[in-house]
Amino acid sequence: MNRAQKSAWFGLTMSTLLLVLVVTSVLVARPAPQLSNLLWFSPALGLYALLIIFLRKKQGQDKVDIDERDSCISRKALIAAFSSTAGLLIGVCMISLFIVGPTSSIPVCLLPALLYSLFVVFILTYSVAVLVQYGWRDKDGEK
């Protein structure tokens, strides 16, 4: 398992956990959303900082860390992540337009939750796309 796969597994685990937390916090805060109800998942940013540090950690000085195949996989995963995040944002906007109506309003404190969700979905899609392209398995079809 290379660095990209380890990072993807970490990202997948963290994203799933955070997505559950974000959805739960929005559901808990549903009757009267308050900023304090939504800020408790802010440590998520710290956890993602760990992911970035994890991504930058090199395996060894004499070993090739990233080659052309890894770059190709990463590029395709980024495209998938951007597309899904954009699709989700458009979907959320359109659905809320139809549900709430064009002249109604939503609590402003739901916006950070939306941003968190988009970020988490981005990482989740990216991680899944990376793992699918590598083939999920540990040794990538080694014989």
Binding site: N2, K63, V64, D65, I66, D67, E68, R69, D70, Q133, Y134, G135, K139, D140, G141, E142, K143
Partner: protein, 73 residues
């Protein structure tokens, strides 16, 4: 990833060249072992520069290592 139409003899050539390991070939061509595994399995078609580096490692022309199989061949 879909299987590429580029077939190769890398696995056979490795064994004919002193039973070269996948890691040794990876080190000589500047890629990871996973990439060599993927190329051998036909899961990844290498770029032209990498194909030339592999050909140079085996001291063979590129067409002796990689064959492009198109429809009707």
């Amino acid at each position: 990833m879909a299987k590429s139409e580029v077939k190769n003899n890398i696995r056979r050539l490795r064994f004919e060249n002193g039973e070269m390991t996948q890691q040794q070939l990876a080190d000589k061509t500047g890629v990871t072992r996973q990439t060599i595994i993927a190329i051998e399995a036909g899961k990844y078609a290498p770029s032209l520069p990498l194909a030339f580096r592999i050909a140079r490692t085996f001291r063979l022309p590129i067409e002796d290592i990689f064959q492009y199989e198109y429809e009707g061949s």
